[in-house]
């Protein structure tokens, strides 16, 4: 049986390692072949970008060689897929190879797409790539005071990032001794400050306590860079001196180009994790259109479910469990305290007051991530 994983991010990597362990005898005997095709030989710890833009991590801490994270049974190739030929159970790669499969897993992820909002790319700071996070770091260092507007596009990766950057900027400016010269203003697309109701109920009073102003039902429409004004779909405007945005995301271009899903997000069954109308094609992580957080934690748990199911298909002839939609997200609430939100398809989160202990757990996880990607944690 040929298992092909397209994508070497968090989901593809955890799944690959999970399968390599579960199917070690089958891989050794040649009964199963496990291949991973990726666009890069590097693996990035994307949550580290939140710290990079504030000067609390450095770029070298964000990367490992992808091959060093993978179990030996995985045949890893840096050769991105360009064409999906699902009716023929094969893909074609950039180098011109045709790779067949019995089971395909698409885990290509998503990307910030500031170009969807006129003026955004030219006038706003963001931290969703190494380059943009470094640019934001330098811009923040040079900033001496004024109105900082934090604006949020939909859909976006890491639903806690808007809150985290707001809280962390509050401490950042306090540490620099200029918090009294900075107005922090937060906008959010729906009628509360976070999509999770219980998180919003906790965060809004925190904003009030810290003097962070906020405006809800604000969806970015365009940025007037000349006059430093951000306009919303709802007809309101906000002036800024420094604009920091979480841009709306799209799926990867290859997904869109192959017509697999609008916006690059593939229609996916939320419990089976199969692509719509395809029983041997699975989709995990940001690539799906499942109405769930686009987050590393989401794909971590999906990869574990799928690893168990694909291994069961090989060994028993059928999958063994449905995915429950589990998500566990840390929420940094400043430079030295944090809380978390844990939920699944049926149980909402109930975040507790932030503590230093959870913050240090998050600091530890920033290092432990590499064990997580290897499928050990």
């Amino acid at each position: 049986m040929k298992i092909l994983i397209v994508g070497g991010g968090m989901g593809g990597t955890i799944l690959g390692n999970n399968l390599a362990r579960r199917l070690a005898p089958e891989l050794r005997s040649g009964k199963v072949q496990l291949t991973m095709l990726s666009a890069s030989d590097k693996h990035m710890y994307q949550p580290g970008l939140l710290y990079l833009c504030l000067g609390r991590m450095t770029p070298d801490e964000l990367y490992r060689d992808q091959a060093s994270l993978l179990e030996p049974g995985i045949e890893f190739q840096v050769d991105p897929v360009e064409t999906f030929e699902l009716d023929k159970n094969q893909v074609k790669t950039k180098s011109g190879k045709t790779v067949g499969y019995d089971i395909l897993v698409i885990a290509t992820g998503s990307r910030a797409a500031p170009e969807m909002i006129p003026g955004l790319a030219e006038n706003a700071e963001t931290f969703y790539t190494e380059q943009s996070a470094l640019k934001m770091f330098k811009r923040l260092q040079a900033f001496q005071g004024g109105k900082v507007v934090i604006a949020v596009g939909v859909p976006h990766k890491c639903p806690m990032a808007p809150l985290e950057i707001a809280f962390m900027l509050d401490d950042y400016f306090k540490d620099r001794g200029i918090r009294d010269k900075v107005q922090l203003h937060y906008t959010y697309p729906i009628g509360r400050v976070h999509s999770l109701e219980n998180v919003a109920k906790w965060a809004a009073p925190e904003f009030d306590r810290l003097g962070i102003t906020y405006e809800t039902l604000f969806n970015m429409k365009e940025v007037d860079g000349k006059n430093q004004v951000l306009k919303s779909e709802e007809g309101t405007e906000v002036k800024y001196d420094l604009l920091i945005t979480i841009p709306a995301h799209k799926g990867m271009e290859v997904v869109e180009k192959n017509g697999l899903g609008a916006g690059g997000f593939i229609p996916t069954d939320k419990v089976k994790l199969t692509m719509d109308k395809r029983s041997n094609v699975y989709v995990i992580g940001d690539t799906t259109n499942i109405p769930i957080s686009k987050a590393g934690s989401t794909v971590h748990y999906q990869a574990e479910t799928l690893g168990e199911n694909i291994a069961a298909i090989v060994k028993l002839g059928a999958p063994v469990r449905e995915h429950d939609g589990k998500v566990f997200c840390f929420i940094e609430c400043g430079k030295d305290r944090a809380t978390y939100a844990m939920f699944n398809y049926t149980t909402p989160p109930d975040p507790k007051p932030p503590t230093r202990a959870v913050h240090w757990f998050k600091m530890a996880y920033n290092k432990l991530y590499w064990a997580s990607a290897r499928g050990l944690l």
């Binding site: 969807m116 859909p155 009628g191 999509s195 969806n219 609008a262 109405p291």
Partner: protein, 76 residues
């Protein structure tokens, strides 16, 4: 007419039905019809309110076996 786009946000705590709708609207065409399915009671009022504010057309809402169906047309 193009097939109606169904936004199945039943049981979605995060990002939730309205965020899910806003995301899907970005990738829909003007004139497309969408239907949001939600088990969140608040959506039945929040979504029509937002549609009115932004200028999309509400085609109707109904509740069926605990699921709210909110139909709309993308206008711009």
């Amino acid at each position: 007419m193009a097939e109606k786009i169904v936004v199945d946000a039943r049981g979605s705590f995060c990002p939730g039905p309205l965020m899910e709708l806003i995301a899907r609207l970005k990738f829909a065409q003007v004139g497309d019809e969408l239907e949001v399915l939600s088990t969140d009671k608040g959506s039945a009022s929040d979504i029509p309110e937002w549609l009115h504010k932004v200028g999309h057309q509400l085609l109707g809402t109904r509740e069926e076996a605990g699921v709210f169906h909110i139909a709309l047309k993308k206008m711009k």
